[in-house]
């Protein structure tokens, strides 16, 4: 059965809703490109060659007054907080950020629920928290909660078998 890219869907939908003019980029590489590679190949080609090995943040967005680095998580927001701290530390060494023009950096955590510990940690680390909860999140959470139950496993196996019988796999 095909895997659904829910985290990608989540950040893409959030960005489209929050920045309808499209002043943002998804899945953006961060961090330095090795200097010897730049000397050998030039900045552009070195960036292309090194691209796959660089960490990538979910999105960046730009306004005249702010440069936003954005990480979204439907589940495990703790990981997103940690990731944002790493990504923010990489900004000074990232020379190819799109549309960066000396705006101050604002790190944004996008989550469907703002629990107290998320808010406290975000304040401690100077992260902005954005709440985004599209309708499909509730169904996804219900699915996750049931995922390891016997009833869900049986239903899932039946669905997979039917897909095979119908030639959809």
């Amino acid at each position: 059965m095909p895997r659904e890219e829910r985290e990608r869907r989540y950040i893409a939908e959030y960005m489209a809703a929050a920045y309808p003019a499209g002043n943002y980029q998804l899945n953006v590489p961060l961090g330095p490109i090795p200097r010897d590679l730049v000397q050998q190949l030039g900045q552009l080609q070195a960036a292309q060659v090194f691209y796959p090995t660089r960490p990538r943040i979910d999105a960046v967005a730009w306004t005249p007054t702010e440069y936003l680095i954005i990480e979204a998580k439907i589940r495990e927001p703790k990981h997103a907080i940690g990731d944002l701290l790493v990504y923010r530390s990489l900004i000074p060494s990232t020379l190819d950020l799109p549309m960066r023009d000396h705006q101050p950096i604002v790190a944004v955590l996008v989550v469907p629920e703002v629990l107290d510990w998320i808010r406290a940690s975000a304040e401690e680390h100077q992260l902005r928290v954005a709440l985004y909860k599209p309708e499909w999140i509730a169904a996804y959470w219900a699915e996750r909660q049931n995922y390891f139950t016997r009833a869900y496993r049986v239903a899932r196996d039946e669905k997979v078998n039917m897909r095979k019988i119908l030639g959809l796999e």
Binding site: P2, A12, M15, G22, L26, V28
Partner: protein, 104 residues
């Protein structure tokens, strides 16, 4: 006018596309692992501009990651009002995409 049947992304190189007429087509492909034919859903666009030049071409993707990035603009009907800039990262199963879509 550049004639090119299908747009192929080059890893690491941004492609600036004007995408119109999004649709999902059912196609049969050969599974690269099992070598068996199988039906897949493909997201297909007509492309009338590539890197600032007019073209008559088609862009299609099997990637759920890329489709997820483009879907909000398909759903809200603005995709044809944008220049979509796609940079492929890696190839095959590990391919990923950097996507930007400013309004034109």
């Amino acid at each position: 006018m550049v004639l090119q049947n299908y747009i192929t992304l080059t890893p690491g190189v941004p492609a600036r596309l004007h995408l119109v007429s999004p649709r999902v087509e059912r196609r049969t492909i050969t599974d690269p692992i099992t070598r068996q034919p199988k039906g897949v859903n493909v997201l297909v666009f007509t492309v009338d501009e590539l890197d600032g030049r007019p073209v008559q071409s088609t862009f299609s993707t099997l990637s759920d990651k890329l489709a997820s990035a483009l879907k909000p603009w398909i759903d809200d009907g603005t995709i044809s009002k944008r220049t979509v800039i796609i940079t492929q990262v890696g190839q095959g199963f590990t391919a990923d995409y950097n996507v930007q879509g400013p309004l034109r």
